[in-house]
Every structure is written in C-alpha cells, then in structure tokens.
C-alpha cells in the first residue's frame, strides 16, 4: 500500500512490506542517494547491553561475507560511497550515501553487510581497545556529560535514555563476545525496520529491492521494552572537569507526554518561543545572550518524546564560571516568566510564521527532508498524519500553549546539570534552587 503527496519539487511516497515500512522522497534527475534505516534494539538497557551496543556499531562495518574489514571498507570507498552505523537511545540507524551511478553496486555491499556480518574475534579485540580510548576522551566532553547526567536524573537505569558511566561501559565492553554481537544482530534483523530514502525513482526502486533481500525469510519478534520515567523533582548535579574553560549546562525536567497527546504540540510551540534551537529568535537568546551578554548560545526544546514513550524538555547552554550564577539566575527567571505569564499575542503570530518557514526551507535540501520524514515514520506516522500534525502545530491556540507551559515546565522542580570547572562555584550553584 502506498500513499503520496507532492511538495514543491519533491514527491513523497510511503510503502509497507514484510518486515519493513518506510517512505521515499524523489526528485527529478536526482544524482544522489541518501537513505536512513532504523530499528529499535531496546530491551532492558543493562550495562552489559550498553557494552555490546558500543562494540556493535564498528563491528557491523568490520567484515561481511567474503570481505574482511579492509576489503569491505575498500569496496565501499572505491564507489565513493559511505555507510554510517550509530546507536542512540538503543535505536540503531544505518545511513547510506552514494551517487546514483554507483548505487546498485553499493547496495549489494549493504545487503552483504546486513545478511552476513562476520563478527570476528580479531576485530572484536581491536574495537574493544578503540572504544576504551573513546570513552576516556568522552570524560572531557563537558556538553555530553552535562546532558547524560541530566537525563540520568529523569530516567531509571533500565530506560533507554539512561547512560552508564564510562568506567562501567568500558568494563562491560571487555566482556563482550562475538556471540553477544550475533545476538544483537539477530535482534536488529528481527525488529521492524523503518526505511527512508531520498533519490531518483530508479534508485528508490533499487533501494527497495535491496531491503527486500535483507528482509527475506525474517520472522519479526517484538521486544518488551522498559520505560521508566521519574516525576519532576528539584535536583542539581555537578561534575567537575577542570580542564575546561566553561561550564556546560542542561536544565529541564521530565514531560509525561507522548507525540499524540493533545498538550504536546502546544508545549513544542511554547518551547520554541522560549528558546528555538539555532538562530536568535527565542527569548533566551534575546535576553540571556543579546541583552545580558552572558553566553554565546542558549536554546530549549523537547527531546525523546515518541509515539509510545514520554520524554523531557531541556535548556542547553554554557557559562564562564564567573558568570554561572548570574547566567543560571537569568535562565530560571525566563523559564519562570514564560511559565507564569505565557506567550504574548505578538509572539504567537510571529512563531506561526517562523514554524511555517521551517517547513518551507526543507524544500531546499533533499537530505534534510529525508531526515525529517524519517523521524515521522519512526513514530509510525502516515503521510496524511504527518501533514495533519504539521497543520495542527500551526493551529494550536495561545490558550492551549499557555496552558501547556503552565502545566509542564515545572520551574520549581528542575534538574540543573553542570559539567566543567565547577569546583569554585559549586556552593553558589547549589544555593540557587
């Protein structure tokens, strides 16, 4: 079954078949192929599982069929193509990029990778060493540490959003075996795939053929997923990383909404007014950066809200240590203000235009359009539902928006997570809330 719609110079279609569903965006005489394939691997999110996931992404690219790692990378590179494999929140995503000309040969390699991965013990050993080094480097990524510690206060350790410590994950990776990798791969193959491709009509057909081969004979199995979100509660978590110049912050709380809840889109609208991601339109950028000169960037948005799982909202920013208290005070003031007083009529009208423009600008980039469509398809939207959803965002009322801001922002129950040179200002930050 397929549905379609046309927007500017792009034609959108969807498809459903045995073991996968997805969509395609075609553009006349398109010379590139950009594809995303996602599957949910989440079960219990143990440390052991995290360890396997950390190894798996490299292992999948490290040999398949008659190719060892070097010859597989060789074969892909000689076509000028690329395969990216990542796992975020226990969702595996494979990203394929190629020219149209080389797509048929490239897709054959992709099929071999997915149907006959080697998972050798030699490569496992190499990857274990590499991952251990990356995890050491990660301890100094203050932005990532702030976000992970923030999310760890909102979700239980079995939830997909929880991040175990680098030490725990490193220990877990050392215990990973090739059998573990094969088991995880079986989970990936037995899960429902979401496939989104942007290309010419011919390449979309090639892509669909390749996917069909991958899915042949697969028996789908559904995993029991663990999702435990904690109620909003006041918390401050600071991690000292003395080598940094600035303190990175993640501020926010859990939001007990899924994508389909009637309050969700009004909340999204309201958070855009507070801190639209990127650019200078949000209140936080206007005040904390432009008027007060306290930071280079400050934004807010919802995250991890899905069709069946609830998420959170997060304000992301950084401050120099000597500005941290002032910066946090200003940020909390703005959260409080929008919570109490809501958005103005002027903001409401402006952001309707801003959000509409966001949609229009997608037409400028096939890659961005594919990535956006993929997000909707992963949440099981049809094209009609996707269109209705976008229209609904434009038509939420100011009353609905302000109600959502009052209900879900919880300025008195925020997590403030900071990572960087926090030692000297720890006491003052802890005293803020």
């Amino acid at each position: 079954m397929a549905t379609s719609l046309v927007q500017n110079n792009m034609k959108y279609t969807t498809f459903t078949a045995e073991g996968y569903h997805g969509g395609a965006i075609t553009r006349a005489s398109e010379k590139t192929v950009h594809c995303r394939i996602s599957v949910d691997l989440h079960t219990s999110h143990s440390v052991h599982q995290s360890g396997i996931e950390h190894i798996y992404t490299d292992a999948l690219l490290s040999g398949a069929g008659r190719y060892d790692r070097a010859s597989f990378i060789d074969a892909v590179s000689m076509l000028g193509a690329s395969i990216g494999v990542s796992i975020h929140n226990s969702r595996l995503t494979v990203t394929l990029r190629s020219t149209e000309e080389n797509a048929p040969k490239f897709l054959k390699l992709f099929v071999i990778m997915m149907t006959s991965p080697s998972f050798t013990s030699t490569e496992l050993k190499r990857i274990q060493t590499q991952v251990a080094l990356e995890l050491i480097e990660h301890t100094e990524d203050a932005k990532a540490v702030a976000q992970e510690n923030f999310e760890n206060t909102l979700y239980s350790s079995t939830d997909r959003r929880y991040t175990h410590t680098p030490e725990q994950i490193t220990a877990a990776t050392k215990k990973v075996t090739t059998d573990h990798l094969k088991e995880l791969h079986t989970t990936a193959m037995q899960g429902m795939w979401t496939v989104t491709v942007g290309a010419s009509t011919k390449s979309v057909a090639h892509m669909q053929s390749a996917i069909k081969v991958c899915r042949k004979g697969i028996v789908l199995s559904t995993q029991k997923r663990s999702h435990i979100q904690k109620a909003p509660a006041k918390k401050t978590v600071l991690q000292n990383i003395p080598s940094k110049q600035n303190i990175e912050f993640a501020i926010g709380t859990s939001v007990p909404l899924t994508l389909h809840h009637p309050d969700y889109l009004p909340l999204v609208f309201g958070l855009n007014v507070l801190g639209k991601w990127g650019g200078f339109t949000g209140r936080l950028m206007s005040t904390v950066r432009e008027k007060e000169g306290l930071t280079y960037g400050i934004y807010a948005k919802t995250e991890s809200v899905e069709g069946t799982e609830q998420g959170h909202y997060r304000v992301m920013t950084f401050f120099a240590p000597d500005k941290a208290v002032q910066g946090l005070t200003s940020t909390l003031r703005e959260i409080n203000k929008i919570h109490t007083k809501g958005i103005t009529q002027n903001e409401y009208e402006r952001f309707q235009t801003i959000l509409a423009t966001q949609q229009t600008l997608l037409a400028d980039s096939l890659t961005r359009s594919v990535d956006t469509l993929h997000g909707y398809l992963c949440a099981d939207f049809s094209l009609t539902e996707m269109d209705e959803y976008k229209n609904r965002l434009m038509s939420v009322t100011r009353k609905e928006i302000n109600h959502a801001l009052q209900t879900y922002l919880h300025p008195d129950k925020l997590t403030i997570s900071g990572a960087g040179p926090t030692q000297k200002v720890k006491k003052d930050i802890l005293a803020i809330q």
Binding site: I73, S77, M78, I136, S243, F318, F351, I354, T357
Partner: protein
C-alpha cells in the same frame, strides 16, 4: 569616476540595465553594478520557493594589525546590531528582526580572507533580505551601548574555543609558523586584544572594508536573474565607496629555516600531536594535491595513518585540517595519542611513515579520495544554502569559476604528484610541530 567595468564584456543578450555582464559558467552569472562596483552572482534553482542570499566581504583576519587581532570577527557580530535607520524606527536590529518575524536561517562567519553573511528564506522575503544587507553594509551604529554586551558574547565564544585542546594548540602552531604574515593568529584573535577593542577601532575597520567594491552578493534559488538584479539595483545602487583605496596587508613571511616547535601543558586527559605544513593557496593545483595527500594520510578508517596508528592502538584518532586560504597557510595533521604513547614516539613513527610513502601505498587510496570527492560534490550542490556556502571560498580566492572544475582537476592528480608534494611539504623548513600535553 572609477571604472568598474574592467572585465570582459558580453553579447547583448546578457545586458541588464545598470550592470556590466562579466561571465557565465555552469548556470551562474556574474554582473557588476555600474554605480559602485558591487559584484553580483546569480544561480536559479526553480520550484523550491527558497532563496539563499549571501554577501561576502573581502576582509578577514589577514587584514588585522597587531593589537587588533580578531577585529574582523568582532565586526561580524556588530553587523547584527541596529543601524541608524533601525534606531529611528526604534528597532533592535533589522537583521535580527528579519529572522524573528520570518524564521529565516541567518548567520555569518569570518575567516582569514573574508567575512560572509547569509540568509536563507522563502522567496517572498527576498527584497526585505536585500534591504537589510544593503543598509548594514555601511550604516551599523557602533557605540559602547551596543558594543560592550556583544564583546561579552565574543569573549564567551573565545572561552568556548579555548577550552578545546585542538584550538589551544592550533593557536600556538600558527603563531610559531608565521612571524610576520597575519595568518599567524586565529580568526577570533587573542583574548587580550578582544578585551581592548574600542568602538573607534571597530568603526575605522568598518569604514575601510565594508564597501560595495569590496563585496560579492551571491543569490541562489527560486528567483529569476532579471528579478534578482532589479531588486539588487534598487537596494544597493545608491551606496558609495570611500574615496580612499582599500588598505591591504603587504607582509611577506620570511623564509623558514628549520623546524618550529611549540607545546602546551594543561590538566587534561587529552594528549595531542600536531604536524603543520606550509601549503600553497586555494584553489591552486598544489592546494588540491595537498588536500588529496592529507586525505590519503588521514581521511577515513582505511587511510594510512589510521591503519598504522589507530588500528594498532598507538592513537585514538587521526584527522587533518586544510583551510581554503588564498595565500600560503599551515595545514595540519592532528593525532590524539592513546594512553601510554609518548609524543616523541608518535612523532617519530608518524614522520617515518610519511617520509617513506611510495606510489604503491597511495595509488588505490587516491582513487578512493577522488571518488569520495565526486560524491561529496554532488551532495553539496543539492541545496541553495550549500551552494552559496561553497561558492564563498572560491569568491574569496577571486576565482568563483573554479567551483566547476575542482573535481576535474582532482581526477587529473596522479600518485606520483602526491609523492612529489609529500617530499616538498614534509621537510623541516616547512614544518611546525606541536604537543598538547595533558597532565591529568
């Protein structure tokens, strides 16, 4: 009156009133506005309803004097502040207001040779975007009231970069590599200089360099050539150039006589080795060869240094950096050491690998690099925003037409060319080596 029509003229079919036609290549047309020498490039991409307009000023960190490093970048920030017209209308800044009222993509960046400002928006905002760009070319108000908070933001930005070991070591590397040439400091400048800016210094820089005959306006998207040029003339034709000529640096870097070395020590678990090499300007053929060589050495998991250092556990990552500067600059190989590896040991290994490169080692890798570039070019030319961004570097090098022949020239590179380039670049009189030593 200055003659802005020094370049070749075109057949009558290309004539547009008020403009001199200069060139057309690959669907991009070049015109010069007769009244003031503003260069305009246009490319039509139909059926998207989106336009990207981008103005590039031929001014960057290379135009900065000692004691005023980073001023070009500071000025870039000030171009988002109110103009005298904005103040009369009681508006914060019409550039910011354009974004706040329409949701267009808005940004800017400064680099060594140029400063560029761009908007990407639905086509109905085209005229307004041009109005904003024309007005702020020469009319931004630079007073303490606007400047001081923004300097705070720039200092914040500086601290953000300076916390990164890569940036911190890079600063020392370019300082060591260039004693006289203004490429010897990073675009954001030194903190000590940023702290000492005054509105007067900024105003002088602004007046010198922000002028129509020092600018190229690029328009890419769903708008016809005639409509675009007509709108540009309406908004820009009245702007004038100062009577004085544009001030350009005339520094010539003295010849380097031996290896330069720098090091930084900080409490950190990161340890880096950087190998800097002086390379020719963009987009000369030798720049392309340098780019191909660095990709062969560090680009991807099958690159030479990745397989010899990362796969063997001596390093956790390898990468390279090569800026498209118009003059001779410092390219870098950056290696993050694995715990237990020493800087001296990895330096010795790396230099040995590089100096013993043979044609057989690189032939296949070069083919992959070229294939990868072909793919990347196709992807990069799929949106008006990406096209405008990529063109900026060619405009900055004063050869936008080269945008179309880069891949063809890459395809002509032979493995022997890379071996020759390798021998030329990795000699001590061209090299600077840096250690970032983490003491954690």
């Amino acid at each position: 009156m200055h003659d802005y029509t020094m370049k070749k003229k075109a057949p009558n079919t290309k004539n547009v009133p008020g403009y001199t036609f200069i060139d057309e290549v690959g669907g991009i047309s070049e015109y010069v506005l007769k009244t003031n020498g503003l260069t305009v490039l246009h490319k039509n991409i139909p059926d998207t309803e989106v336009v990207t307009s981008n103005i590039t000023y031929a001014v960057g960190s290379r135009d900065e004097a000692n004691g005023e490093t980073g001023i070009a970048h500071m000025l870039e920030h000030m171009l988002f502040k109110p103009t005298t017209q904005d103040l009369k209308k009681n508006i914060d800044s019409s550039a910011m207001q354009l974004e706040r009222e329409t949701g267009c993509i808005i940004n800017a960046n400064t680099w060594k040779d140029r400063t560029t400002y761009f908007f990407s928006y639905p086509v109905e905002h085209f005229s307004r975007a041009l109005q904003v760009e024309a007005e702020r070319m020469q009319d931004v108000v630079i007073t303490d009231k606007e400047f001081l908070p923004e300097r705070g933001n720039v200092l914040s930005e500086f601290d953000m970069y300076n916390g990164d070991p890569h940036f911190a070591l890079n600063v020392q590397m370019v300082c060591a590599a260039f004693h006289s040439h203004p490429y010897g400091h990073e675009t954001i400048g030194f903190r000590e200089d940023i702290e000492r800016y005054t509105p007067e210094k900024l105003q002088k820089f602004y007046t010198n360099y922000y002028r129509p005959d020092n600018a190229t306006l690029t328009i890419v998207g769903d708008i016809s050539l005639r409509a675009a040029l007509s709108a540009v003339k309406k908004e820009f034709a009245h702007l004038k150039n100062p009577a004085v000529a544009i001030v350009r640096h005339n520094s010539v870097e003295p010849a380097q006589e031996g290896l330069q070395r720098v090091s930084i020590t900080r409490p950190s678990s990161t340890n880096l080795l950087m190998i800097g090499i002086k390379h020719e300007g963009f987009p000369n053929q030798s720049w392309l060869e340098t780019s191909a060589l660095l990709s062969v050495l560090t680009g991807g998991t099958d690159s030479i240094l990745h397989t010899r250092l990362v796969d063997t556990g001596f390093a956790s990552s390898v990468q390279s950096m090569l800026e498209p500067t118009s003059e001779k600059n410092l390219g870098m190989i950056i290696i993050a050491l694995a715990p237990g590896s020493s800087h001296a040991e990895i330096e010795t290994m790396t230099r040995s690998i590089i100096t013993s490169l043979r044609v057989a080692d690189i032939t296949k890798l070069l083919k992959k690099v070229i294939q990868s570039e072909i793919t990347e070019e196709l992807f990069a030319r799929g949106s008006s925003l990406h096209i405008a961004m990529e063109l900026t570097e060619y405009i900055s090098a004063n050869t936008w037409q080269s945008y179309f022949d880069t891949v063809a020239r890459l395809k002509n590179i032979k493995p022997t060319d890379l071996i020759t380039m390798n021998k030329k670049l990795f000699v001590e009189s061209q090299m600077t080596i840096g250690y970032f030593i983490g003491t954690k």
